[in-house]
């Protein structure tokens, strides 16, 4: 460990120390101060974000951007995702504010666990060795299990935590076994070494088992179809801000690590996995979208929609080309912000314990809060991939990547399923604009307004003028693209 390593790891060091310090606040008698908890968390996230940006300039000066004996990379891909995670966690902090104030749970532990989860995600997305990826993944998952069950006086929350935990532990066992078999065949845990070994080894069946088990474990984390059973229940039962966390930051982390492992380590492992993953992707899109139509609970509907979105993101991973890699980056960003905006609107409707959770609760929102109803429409259009919004850019890249890689049928299916998804998104729009609502008040608080407005600006701006995002994604994916031997294309 040299000073160089410390600089590389500075964001993680800061967030882990900061999150640990948050735990100390109740000891000095600040237990009740929700506002100072929120601000401490936001300041901590701000410092971390600045450090990440600072590190990115530092890294540009050093060609060899790998640290800790090759276990850690601070490339553009990692920095892009780290900034998404930090922003998402900052927004979730704002979303949690009123929610926590009303319930009587200890806020400091809540924010500190969010910080630990962020630390795990940031460590994971930089991981160049399966060891560090596994540790980061477990830190993220463990914090999520606890946060899902955080409202322990509510039976639903505890039940969600239990389901999430049992299935999550099984999936990490499976993931580990996959890692061990890959280690056995390649003789290394480093992603680049695995990639190098795979280009010379004749693929055998032990390796096939290993890659399939690893893929199954990762598919669980991103809730793709055969491994999705936990998603609706956990999303419904967990406290709403935590559902927002699971469906945005945690999901983007799963996309990122899936892309990193498959682009860096398994790009030469052409045997069958892209067909298997294509099937998983198709199943996720079909099942997620069709099941979402029948849901009356908004949290469950969004859970199924997030399963479908895992299917779309998989398109970018199986296509294994420059468009696909950039598509994963762009899509993650677009998806995270559209989804966070929706969750902010759902939380505005939270009049009582479970308000805002049913589709009926949206009735007449256009009269009660016209601007936020309009924002909600934009977010839904973005999730559906309709042109003036940013969602279109993300889907454009993913579908184009799939076509370029020869998965034309999958791209056609994805377009069809996007059309199906508009059906249930429009159900919410119809409820908001065409139905008479019961005259109940909405709780539009300042933090929720900030989150929804920021997401709205990002979603619209990137939809109308996407060039900076595309350039940034091209820049960020360069390092991995060069390693995966995919030639970067210029422009769109």
């Amino acid at each position: 460990m040299t000073w160089n390593d410390v600089v590389f790891l500075l964001p993680e060091i800061i967030i882990s120390i900061g999150a640990s310090l948050l735990l100390l606040a109740p000891v000095v008698g600040w237990r009740q101060r929700e506002t100072s908890a929120k601000w401490s968390m936001l300041i901590l996230l701000g410092i971390t974000a600045l450090t990440v940006i600072g590190c990115s300039y530092w890294v540009q000066e050093i060609p060899q951007s790998r640290s800790l004996a090759g276990m850690f990379a601070l490339d553009g891909f990692a920095i892009f995702f780290k900034l998404i995670f930090i922003t998402a966690i900052a927004m979730i902090t704002l979303l949690s504010d009123d929610f926590l104030r009303e319930s009587r749970y200890s806020v400091w532990e809540y924010y500190s666990l969010l910080g630990f989860a962020l630390c795990g995600m940031m460590f994971m997305v930089s991981g160049m060795s399966l060891i560090s990826i596994y540790i980061g993944l477990e830190l993220m998952s463990l914090s999520s299990y606890i946060l899902a069950g955080f409202f322990k006086n509510e039976e639903k929350s505890t039940e969600a935590a239990m389901k999430y935990f049992v299935l999550g532990a099984v999936s990490s066992g499976i993931l580990l076994y996959g890692i061990s078999l890959i280690y056995g065949v390649c003789g290394s845990l480093n992603l680049l070494d695995i990639g190098r070994a795979l280009s010379t080894i004749i693929t055998n069946d032990a390796l096939m088992f290993g890659v399939m088990l690893l893929g199954a474990g990762l598919c669980f984390k991103m809730a793709a179809v055969p491994f999705h059973v936990w998603t609706p229940d956990v999303y419904e039962g967990a406290p709403t801000p935590i559902t927002a966390f699971l469906s945005t930051a945690s999901k983007a982390a799963a996309f990122s690590i899936f892309a990193r492992i498959f682009y860096l380590a398994l790009h030469d492992f052409q045997l069958d996995w892209s067909n298997v993953l294509a099937t998983i992707s198709a199943l996720s899109m079909v099942l997620g979208n069709l099941a979402a139509i029948t849901q009356d609970n908004v949290k469950r509907m969004l859970a199924y929609s997030s399963i479908a979105h895992a299917g779309y993101a998989l398109l970018g991973i199986i296509s294994l080309n420059s468009l696909g890699l950039r598509g994963v980056l762009i899509y993650s960003l677009v998806y995270v912000f559209a989804n966070l905006g929706i969750w902010a609107t759902v939380l505005m409707l939270r009049r009582h314990e479970y308000g805002g959770e049913r589709v009926d609760d949206f009735e007449g929102l256009s009269r009660r809060a016209p601007f936020w109803a309009f924002a909600m429409v934009i977010f839904l259009l973005s999730l559906g991939g309709i042109p003036p919004t940013a969602g279109f850019i993300g889907k454009y890249f993913l579908f184009a990547a799939a076509i370029q890689a020869g998965f034309g049928w999958l791209a056609i299916l994805a377009v069809l399923m996007s059309a199906v998804s508009m059906f249930y998104y429009l159900r919410l729009v119809v409820a908001m604009y065409l139905r008479e609502g019961r005259e109940a008040d909405v709780a539009i608080t300042r933090p929720l307004q900030i989150v929804a407005a920021t997401c709205l600006i990002i979603t619209l701006l990137l939809g109308i003028y996407p060039t900076p995002l595309i350039n940034q994604a091209t820049e960020s994916s360069r390092w991995i693209g060069a390693r995966a031997a995919i030639i970067p294309h210029a422009g769109r």
């Binding site: 399966l130 060891i131 596994y134 540790i135 477990e138 463990l142 299990y145 606890i146 069950g149 322990k152 039976e155 639903k156 505890t158 039940e159 969600a160 935590a161 239990m162 389901k163 935990f165 049992v166 532990a169 099984v170 990490s172 066992g173 499976i174 580990l176 076994y177 890692i179 061990s180 078999l181 280690y183 056995g184 003789g187 290394s188 845990l189 059973v229 609706p232 229940d233 419904e236 039962g237």
Partner: protein
């Protein structure tokens, strides 16, 4: 010196037994014990390969997996206790407030 593949076969058998426990049992604690069995099978594979390659990486991975399994056990059992406060059962199929 016992060759590596004997250890790998033992580990595969133990892993399959663990998977079987996860699939067929309903008691949360037993399912969790089956998961521990799976994780231990993985450790055996790692160690067998570490000796095969004369690499310390595999061995250190086992070390990390043990620490993480301990943390996971603490959190998992705490969740079971929390659920038991509500339900007086840890049968995973009884946990059906929300439909599957």
């Amino acid at each position: 010196m016992i060759p590596t593949h004997w250890f790998l076969i033992l580990s595969a058998i133990l892993f399959a037994i663990g998977v079987c426990g996860v699939l067929t049992r309903k008691n949360g604690i037993t399912i969790f014990m089956s998961i521990e069995l799976m994780v231990n099978a993985v450790n055996l594979t790692f160690l067998a390969y570490a000796r095969q390659f004369h690499q310390i990486h595999g061995l250190i991975f086992v070390f990390f997996v043990m620490a993480i399994a301990a943390a996971e056990a603490a959190v998992g059992l705490a969740i079971f206790i929390s659920l038991f406060h509500h339900r007086a059962t840890i049968d995973v199929d009884e946990a059906n407030l929300m439909r599957w």
